[in-house]
Each structure stands twice: as C-alpha cells, then as structure tokens.
C-alpha cells in the first residue's frame, strides 16, 4: 500500500511553503533551530496533506502544545487549524485516572490468573497479555492513539506508517535534488570544460565532471 500522488504533491507544496514561512534558508538560524523548523514543517505538511484522520488531528494537537509552534501552525494551516484541533465528538471518552485503571487491570489479571491456572501460566493468557502490552506501546507511538480502541488503533497505525514512509521518501528525494543542484551550481564555472567532455574530448577534469553529469538527469527543468 502506498501514499497517493496527490498526497505526495500536497506534501511537497506544504513542506516548501513551510520552509519559506519559517525562513529556513536564512543564515541567521542556528543548525539546531533550522533542523527543528524543518522537522515541524515536515510533520505539518504530512498531516495537512493527509487531511482529517484521527492521527493527523492527534499530531496537530501535539504540535500545538508548544507555544512557539502555534503561530506557525495557524499561519500554514489557516482555517484548517481550527477544524483539525476541534475535539472529535465521535470518540468521546470519560476521562479516567491512568493510575486507577492500571491498578485495576493488575488486580483483574491477577485474579484471572489465580482462578484459571494455579499451576503455571496458560499460553493463551500470556499471548493476550503480550498483545495488550504491545498495543499500549503502539498507542504511545501513533499520535492521538491513546483514546482509540484496538481496531481503530490498527487502522490509524496502518495509515500513519504509509504516510511516514512517504514523508521519508519525499524528504530523501528533496535532499538528493538539492545536493545535485548544489553540485551543478558549483560546476557552472567550468561550463566550457563540461561541454567539451560531453562532445567526447578528453579533459583535465573529465572524471569529476562526468560524475556531476550523472547527477544531472535528476533535474528535469
């Protein structure tokens, strides 16, 4: 399963718009500041390109918990921001203290174990506990996952993984393209030599230029 072409296009558009809005190309930013700005743009772009899903809402909500992110989010998402951070009435849950729930689960499982297997733990109980444990871990990883039931969690996790993979692939493509353009910009001063190598004449920098030339096909300007 893969992300759609329209998702890819929307992601790139939002990502680059985010770069411009947070001015990542300005030299005044430190490396770490720029990295955080890029990461923020990437996450917002991914959520925005995907549209309204439980995990995208969860992600935007999580990002907007930090004050300095909120103005950026409002700027890049516009009216979408209010819509995505509005609480979803479909999955309304009674807020429960986590400690109490955890304690009651432990008591329940202990009681179950005592009734069922006085002489050792049954494999089915162990398997179920393992699934529960892993489910809790997944809930923490998928944004907005804490309030989801098992089936929805799996559904959101699948969608989230597909989107994350696309995010990684596209950022990698962007990186490669930027690197290639940098190299071609550097080689502009040796343009006559590059022309010569294309025609087939031997050049002093023949090898270096053919290496750079190999990267050129990526630019379809």
């Amino acid at each position: 399963m893969q992300a759609t072409k329209s998702f890819e296009r929307a992601f790139l558009k939002h990502l680059l718009r985010g770069f411009r809005l947070s001015a990542v190309s300005y030299k005044s930013m430190s490396l770490q500041e720029r990295k955080s700005a890029i990461k923020l743009s990437a996450d917002v772009a991914m959520a925005s390109a995907r549209g309204s899903r439980k995990w995208t809402r969860g992600l935007i909500t999580k990002l907007s918990k930090e004050d300095d992110h909120r103005s950026f989010l409002r700027l890049i998402l516009g009216t979408e921001y209010e819509r995505l951070t509005k609480p979803c009435h479909g999955s309304w849950k009674i807020p429960r203290s986590k400690k109490i729930v955890r304690r009651s689960l432990r008591v329940c499982s202990r009681r179950k174990n005592n009734l069922r297997a006085p002489h050792g733990v049954k494999s089915s109980v162990l398997a179920r506990t393992l699934v529960e444990k892993r489910t809790h871990a997944l809930k923490r990883l998928v944004p907005g996952g804490e309030s989801l039931d098992g089936y929805s969690l799996l559904d959101e996790a699948l969608d989230y993984v597909i989107s994350l993979r696309a995010q990684v692939d596209l950022m990698q493509k962007l990186l490669t393209t930027f690197e290639a353009s940098k190299l071609s910009a550097l080689s502009k001063c040796t343009l006559p030599e590059r022309k010569a190598s294309f025609v087939g004449e031997a050049g002093i920098h023949q090898q270096k230029l053919t290496e750079k030339a190999q990267l050129r096909p990526k630019l379809t300007l």
Partner: protein, 93 residues
C-alpha cells in the same frame, strides 16, 4: 481465536468488529512492514506484527530526524532561492 484478542480491542460503540476484519487489518499492516516479502507466506502472530510496527515507526521517526538535520546543513549554504523554486517546480511536475 477470539480469546487471544483483549476486550479493549472491541470498540465502545454497538457495532462489533469481526475477527476477520481484525485479521485483515493485521495482514495489511504486516504487508507494509519491511521484509514483508519474506514473511508473507506464513501467518505471523498479532503480537509480532504489533512489535514490528512499533519498531518500524520508531525507525521512521529517526530517519525523519536525520533527514531534517541533513536538509538543515544543506539549506544553510544554499544561496539563491530562485534555484530552489526551479527544483521544486521540477519535483512537482
């Protein structure tokens, strides 16, 4: 089979999700994980799929972090923004 699924996997609403639907999702999830081609023939347990999914998500997060850092180094030294705009246009076509 249903004894292995914790009760918390059933949604709070009235509609009950069948085991078949859950298995379908689990196999779809297994298919997007890396090395899916090797393992698709034999049925993998749900617990394993959940663990692999968690590991995969964590590794994807790390990749995004790493790519952000590399992009940050690269964008620091890029001069013209018009060159960037041309690149962007080419990527979007």
């Amino acid at each position: 089979m249903s004894s292995r699924r914790p009760r918390s996997w059933q949604p709070s609403s009235a509609s009950r999700i069948t085991d078949e639907q859950i298995n379908d999702l689990v196999s779809k999830l297994q298919a997007v994980l890396p090395e899916a081609r090797i393992r698709r023939s034999d049925r993998v347990s749900a617990a394993k799929v959940l663990q692999e999914t968690c590991n995969y998500i964590r590794s994807l997060h790390r990749e995004v972090d790493d790519l952000s850092e590399r992009l940050s180094e690269l964008l620091a030294s890029t001069e013209s923004s018009s060159a960037q705009a041309a690149i962007i246009r080419s990527l979007l076509m």
